[in-house]
Amino acid sequence: MKTSFASFVREKRIAAGLTLREFCRLTGFDASNWSKIERGLHAPPQSKKVLEEITQVLKIETESQDYKELMDLAALASVPEDLVEPEILDQLPVFFRTVRGENPTEDELKTLITKIRSAWHHER
């Protein structure tokens, strides 16, 4: 399967020993948005300056093969028209940790469905 920008940067981030949280702190990206980029739901940044910052945080040397690949993948990347959203029922939890330790209300459960759907919404 052809490598995408999304899978490439995720793989490099994990290989660099960075959590999503650490990566976002170092680059200034919003965590939920970057998570969408890593899932291929948002297009990657196109600014060379931003992409270079990403390569620095990922410890990718300038002009290395990985550097070129990241730049190429960013240039080529777009969110596919036929991207299939995951089955929302598979993303729903059976158990969850609540703050007040009680079963959530029906409204809270409906809100959760909306939030999960939104987390997988892709923007072209």
């Binding site: 994990i14 020993g17 959590t19 999503l20 949280r21 976002c24 702190r25 965590a31 939920s32 998570s35 890593e38 899932r39 995951p86 929302i88 029922l89 598979d90 993303q91 729903l92 939890p93 059976v94 158990f95 969850f96 940790r97 609540t98 703050v99 007040r100 330790g101 009680e102 079963n103 959530p104 029906e106 809270e108 459960l109 409906k110 809100t111 959760l112 469905i113 939030k115 999960i116 987390a119």
Partner: protein, 212 residues
């Protein structure tokens, strides 16, 4: 259709300990502390961490693992704020606990549609849920705070605490006081809250192991 029932699985403390140690063997390749739970979830289990805005505020939830075990969702604010990151670490370990301990229960649930899922969730009673949640938390505590370093830390800090808080004319500290005074000094190494350390000290019956 008759309402479906989730039967609480009553695992013993020994079983949870065994499962946590087995998980450690299979997924954690370094004795370093704190346990890098987020990296373990992503790198060795292939689970995505997905931050969601206002998950706690709007849904009263700190996090959850998806039914198909591919994603752990966390509250974005808690996830990115240093003051709450300990809680998020514990939540991730807790959700891994559900994966390890309750996989078959989760796998056995089938939802026709979203309404069916809501009906299912509203129908689980608090006592049953309590069992599952307590077990997942027990697993998380054992994973993040392994027994040997727990004993080591307790041993190295207790003399200081006993000396500092035992003036000549007052009663000696009881175990509960000792735990609550020593836990904040021990939690840094494990990057968990003092409450988690206190619970671990009690569960491991540390006084019986080491004395005071």
């Amino acid at each position: 259709m008759a309402p479906r029932k989730v039967i609480s699985v009553k695992l013993t403390q020994d079983k949870i300990r065994e499962e946590a140690e087995q998980f450690r063997k299979e997924h954690i390749f370094t004795p370093d502390l704190p346990v890098d739970i987020e990296h373990i979830a992503e790198a060795t289990m292939g689970i995505r961490i997905i931050p969601i805005e206002s998950l706690q505020k709007h849904c009263d939830m700190e996090g959850f693992i998806s039914k198909n075990f591919t994603s752990i969702y966390v509250d974005e604010f808690l996830y990115t704020d240093d003051r709450y990151y300990k809680r998020v670490r514990f939540t991730i370990a807790h959700e891994i606990g559900h994966f390890v301990l309750h996989r078959s229960t989760i796998d056995n649930q089938y939802f026709r549609d979203e309404e069916d899922w809501i009906t299912f969730r509203m129908g689980i009673n608090d006592e049953t849920l309590g069992w599952f949640e307590t077990q997942a938390s027990e697993f998380a505590g054992r994973l993040l705070v392994p027994i040997d370093p727990l004993i080591e830390e307790f041993r190295s800090k207790r003399g200081f605490v006993l000396k500092k808080h035992s003036p000549w004319d007052s009663k000696p500290l009881n175990d509960d006081d000792l735990f609550s005074l020593i836990a904040p000094l021990m939690c840094k190494r494990f990057d968990v809250s003092a409450e988690v350390i206190e619970r671990r000290l009690r569960k491991e019956n540390i006084i019986a192991i080491l004395g005071r």
